[in-house]
Symmetry: C2
Subunit: 168 residues, 2 copies
């Protein structure tokens, strides 16, 4: 995490896993649209669009598609892109650091909170210690994110990433 990060167990969600994939491949899978789309959404959801401008201030945009075909676009701003080490972006800002507004058009199915996410990678033997952390403004947002299945969802996506990375 960024050295300015102050943990708050009521506002933050995190999970850590050791995977048998070198961190260079995980970095590539997280930061290259063509290598992100195959694994980013737990099946049967799909990621149908992705745009990444890999620098602070740059865009991180995905469009997820539900099994029923409904689209869930999300645009965030990249805050840190430290190669093979740490990737941080936030939904609270748009590209160019412009403040964002919550998209309420998708109703209850859409997240009604902002978050900042960090993927931290550290070498671990021949593999990687992978830590995903999402931080929120208030307990309600954190609880909604947990109830949406943060750990299960991001964990399933990581499983898919591991399988996909061996075909890269």
């Amino acid at each position: 995490m960024n050295p300015t990060y102050q943990p708050n167990s009521k506002l933050d969600l995190s999970f850590e896993r050791v995977v048998d994939v070198p961190r260079e491949l995980i970095w590539k899978a997280w930061t290259t649209p063509e290598h992100l789309m195959p694994w980013f959404c737990p099946l049967p959801w799909k990621t149908v669009e992705c745009e990444i401008d890999l620098r602070p201030g740059g865009i991180f945009r995905t469009v997820m598609q539900s099994p029923e075909g409904k689209l869930f676009p999300g645009t965030g701003c990249i805050l840190e892109a430290i190669k093979n080490e740490r990737f941080t972006w936030t939904s609270a800002l748009l590209p160019g650091y412009r403040p964002n507004v919550l998209d309420t058009t998708c109703g209850d199915e859409q997240a009604q909170f902002f978050f900042t996410a960090t993927i931290a990678l550290a070498s671990h033997g021949n593999g990687t210690r992978y830590t995903a952390t999402v931080i929120h403004a208030d307990e309600a947002g954190c609880q909604q994110h947990a109830a949406m299945g943060f750990e299960q969802g991001w964990g399933a996506a990581l499983d898919q990433l591991v399988v996909y990375s061996k075909t890269m």
Copy 2:
């Protein structure tokens, strides 16, 4: 501005001025609490507290005091601190990139919008071309910021900065 910035005249406010102060002094006045407090608020308002952790993710916090003695605290997150060149922070995030929530406790007197501010400095003869830009999520926030007297207020603060910097 950051190269990812996309101007939007309906969402952005900006003013530019050439001042006869070297940019190194302006940088110091903007990024050092003891040198920020004397000029940051147009008189008769005062800045009674200031905290700056000058790095991306770090805190930018001020407490302004109205002539009646009412306090207006504001905490933001620094996004860019490129010495003598560009200083960017946002009220949409707290330190450590944590999303913020709008403070509505001060009612109508308090800003009901988030903004990201950039102070850009460029050498101009023996002085500095000074550009202040604030960007918003929506037109309502931009208009409220304009109605609060953005250009007049930040301009008066700059006048105070110029006077103060000659005593530094």
